[in-house]
Symmetry: C2
Subunit: 137 residues, 2 copies
DNA sequence: CTTTCATATACGTCAATGCGTATATATAAG
DNA sequence: CTTATATATACGCATTGACGTATATGAAAG
């Protein structure tokens, strides 16, 4: 039978212990976002973004969905009430950080006029989610 | 003038991303505790405990007080409302974890009969704190 | 099938971290 | 001063993690 194994708390916190990953989570918020937006807004090599997204996936904090060429990422609440509460609180906290506000503003701007960004030509826009999918709430 | 610099969020989460450090924080709770109790309850080499306590100190999550030969550690709430809330929530979460409950039970036991533990002969007992010292609440 | 585009992974390097062992430091006791 | 006790730090080693660069994969277009 399926034994309810203890959630990996350490891995969860480790995933939150990196600036780039926090920026990614902040951009996702309650939206499902295409990787190309992350690359555009965070800058730097695309592989860097992809590696951090993989880390978040391995920690069970985000999930990915393929849509033809594009990959969409969204936050998924961990299967643990404690982790879920902390993640939500962290996301709220990030909204007050200056860097994070700037990132979000740039995302909004990019979404309004994607044609101005070479990387975003024809890119699928973010999809507003009703509520962050949560397995415990 | 003293500029309010941004709190190091990443360092905060990194400090929480280790099992031994979470066990230490769980044992402290709202008490000020002598290092010898940590050594007794967590087991393993004393240097390991000391190193993790140093890490928590460097992250600003605990503070140390010397009382003759003994060092007492307590949790100090970070100078940031967001981090404080998350730390409190984490401490509450830990109380529900099995390993953490066992640790706390062992601490209680050790405090009731310190004479049974060679390491704790004459050790100063934990000191209940009125409330976790918090700089932002 | 070949090319193109979006994304993921492999590789090599370097810094950070965790651990056990040994040693240093600080205080108290004799 | 010497010794004993409590705690912290230094050292060497193994692992993890972050990075840039290069390459692989997967899907669509020609």
């Amino acid at each position: 039978m399926a034994v309810k194994q203890t959630y990996n708390v350490e891995r969860f916190f480790q995933a939150l212990g990196d600036h780039t990953r926090l920026r990614l989570l902040n951009l996702m918020g309650d939206q499902e976002i295409c990787v190309c937006y992350f690359v555009e807004i965070l800058g730097g090599p695309q592989s860097k973004i992809s590696r951090h997204l993989a880390y978040l996936r391995s920690a069970g904090i985000v999930s990915a969905r393929r849509e033809s060429k594009w990959m969409h990422y969204r936050i998924v609440m961990p299967p643990h009430i404690g982790a879920t509460q902390i993640l939500k609180q962290t996301l709220g906290w990030l909204k007050e950080e200056k860097t994070m506000q700037t990132d979000r503003a740039r995302l909004t701007k990019a979404c309004c006029s994607p044609s101005k960004y070479v990387l975003l030509e024809g890119a699928p826009p973010p999809i507003k989610l009703e509520a962050p999918s949560c397995e415990v709430c």
